[in-house]
């Protein structure tokens, strides 16, 4: 029991463990994607799975994201529970018709006679020097497509529990995995468990300012919180974990408590999910508790540069969060 408590694995291992354990318990679950078999996946997520489950359930595909998503949609309609891996989230643009026009709408258009229980896993984000076509965070595209759920876990624990829920959900789920998170470690129980959708988590309580962040920005916000704590600025880091469905109540309660909110994401600021969060807060219960304008800190409106320095300057870093949070927390005090 105590060993179980202390067990720490990486985010990548947590993703694999969720897939393996679900595949062991449910024969309808299978994995499809490019280089996921012998090679074990571009980032190693499916290492060893071909050996355990064989080529029928670990299905290597040609380089065609549209075909992967289309085949998965069809399989899902026929009662299977496919997981597809899009090697880089950027390539999901090729699968958008199948995901946004087909998978997302079928259950609605057929009056609930069929459903599409598929999970699209998508490694996202910058920081690896992989340039503009391998670094994007496209969560806002999916949030904007009714019928698709969007999950963006920030810790190994959340990754496992939310991937299990994603696989068991009867709707298409976009499961966003930040590439920089793959090597982060954290406590993950070996037993199978699930985390319900629509439950945000306060990753660090604080009284002065709410920082809403998801995916890798949670890690950076928590680092920023440590630095700010030394200056006696206590920020509350709230991770929605699932962008759709969204736990408005937890976000709202936090902003009501602190009166100030900074929304942080990596994707470009214009049209980003932060705008949606800002509008919800401004239009909700928290409005009467706001003591300063809602602020957003997000990626610049440019393609991610290859150059390391420019890549770094394009998306929010720890020091940017510290500076923005400090300014906002002190405003008018």
């Amino acid at each position: 029991m105590s060993d179980q408590k202390k067990r720490e694995i990486t985010y990548l291992e947590a993703v694999r463990e969720a897939m393996v354990q679900e595949m062991r318990s449910d024969p309808d679950v299978f994995l499809m994607g490019e280089d996921i078999g012998v090679y074990g996946g571009a980032f190693g997520a499916s290492q060893g799975m071909l050996e355990e489950f064989g080529p029928e359930r670990i299905r290597e595909t040609p380089i065609s994201e549209e075909a992967i998503a289309g085949a998965a949609t069809g399989a899902a309609m026929m009662g299977m529970r496919p997981i597809i891996e899009i090697m880089f989230m950027d390539f999901v643009t090729l699968a958008m018709d199948q995901l946004a026009n087909q998978a997302a709408k079928i259950r609605f258009m057929f009056g609930g006679h069929t459903s599409v229980p598929l999970v699209c896993r998508a490694p996202a984000g910058s920081g690896t020097g992989a340039a503009a076509q391998h670094c994007q965070s496209l969560e806002a595209w999916f949030v904007h497509a009714p019928g698709i759920k969007v999950v963006a876990p920030s810790t190994p624990y959340d990754a496992k529990g939310l991937l299990v829920t994603s696989i068991r959900d009867n709707n298409p789920v976009l499961f966003m995995e930040h590439k920089l998170l793959y090597r982060t470690k954290g406590h993950v129980p070996e037993d199978l468990y699930s985390i319900p959708f629509g439950q945000a988590e306060v990753k660090r309580p604080g009284r002065d300012l709410t920082v809403i962040a998801y995916s890798n920005m949670v890690v950076r916000a928590l680092e920023a919180a440590e630095i700010l704590a030394a200056e006696k600025i206590e920020i509350e880091v709230v991770d929605p974990r699932t962008l759709k469905p969204l736990d408005e109540a937890t976000l709202m309660a936090s902003v009501c408590k602190t009166g100030r909110v900074l929304i942080v994401h990596e994707a470009p600021i214009t049209g980003g999910f932060g705008g949606e969060l800002a509008a919800l807060i401004a239009g909700g219960e928290a409005f009467d508790y706001l003591d300063a304008p809602i602020r957003r800190l997000a990626g610049r409106d440019i393609p991610i540069p290859y150059n390391r320095t420019l890549e770094r300057a394009t998306v929010p870093q720890v020091e940017d969060i510290v500076a923005a949070a400090r300014t906002l927390a002190k405003e008018g005090k």
């Binding site: 003591d291 800190l297 923005a324 300014t327 405003e331 008018g332 005090k333």
Partner: protein, 412 residues
Amino acid sequence: MAVEVILPKVDMVMETGTFVEWLKQEGQQVVKGEPLFTILTDKAAIEIESPASGILAGVSAKPNDVIPVSETIAYILAPGERQPERRSGASAAGAATSAVPAETPAGAVVIGPSAFPAAPAGKVRASPVARRMAAELGLNLNTLSGRGPRGRIQRADVAAAVETRAAIRPSGMPALQIPLPDARRKEVIPLTGARKIIAQRMAYSAATAPHITLSLHVDMSEATHLRTRLLEKIEQSTGQRLSFTAILVRAVAAVLPHHPFINASLNVEEIICWEDVHLGIATSLKDYLIVPVIRQAQTKNLEQLVVVLADLVERARSHRLSPAEMSGSTFTISNLGMFGIESFTAIINPPESAILAVGKIVERQAAGENGLVLKPMMNLTLSADHRVIDGAAAASFLAELKATLENPYLLL
């Protein structure tokens, strides 16, 4: 080199100052040491001298701005020199700061980024939570001043206003919401600076110190003789005219050491009787009152007091007293004789335990050796904190003061 003009810290505990006015125009030549601007601290309005000679530029402080200590509010530039880019503390991370335009024609000066447009007429800049709190508390946002960007009223400002209003309200009494008259407003003045301090202390004193007042008349015949005899001599030695105030100060300073409880402070669970007589002289300026303090008045003779008084009053009128010279009194004298007031009662200036209210010297009928005669009489009214001072003790002080003024040769 451009020299920064900052809001100076003129008082140990000062964190902000309220800007009153510029005494020089932007673009004008100034000389080091010349009065440059006036600020209002918690205690008084103070003139600040220019830190350098040159041209005043980049003026950002406006009347009624509440400005943190050490903040740059202007620059003194050498002829032809350009104003340095102002350090901006407010721009969010990653946000580009707006460029300062190059030399503008006709010697115009670039306005710093803190020159924000005022809120539209009839609108108040306030955060949502400040609006809600103000509404719940029945506070009028128009009467609050904001410390947020562009003067935005935020939670802290409303909280501070509540605290202030609680402080100027007697403790234990509910906040009375007295409806304001339905009248056109000429002006709404934020309760800040000296006015706020006076309001807080007077309400505190009136509510916490049970005042007793004792009053008597003093025959000022001998004091008048004394003044006439010494007037010319003291004017020769000091260049100042001997005033009745100086004689009164000398008498109070001589008598107070015999009455320890009159020159005392109630401090929580103890009464401190002061060895020193630091005499506060309530002085009315144009629109408010200050109390310059004569330190260790008991050690000074009449000539010295004349000199000190003249200096304090002169500098008080020209706003050149330091905050230290206006605080720390152990007893206060308030004289409204110059307005024709014959007698009045004053409220004790805490933490003191008594205050002397002095009226005008008027000719009154009094008993002389051959029946009624006219004598120059002066009313003295002592307000005393009854927690510290018994009626008999207060009476004994007043009686000795009267005896001294009626026989001022005792002061020799």
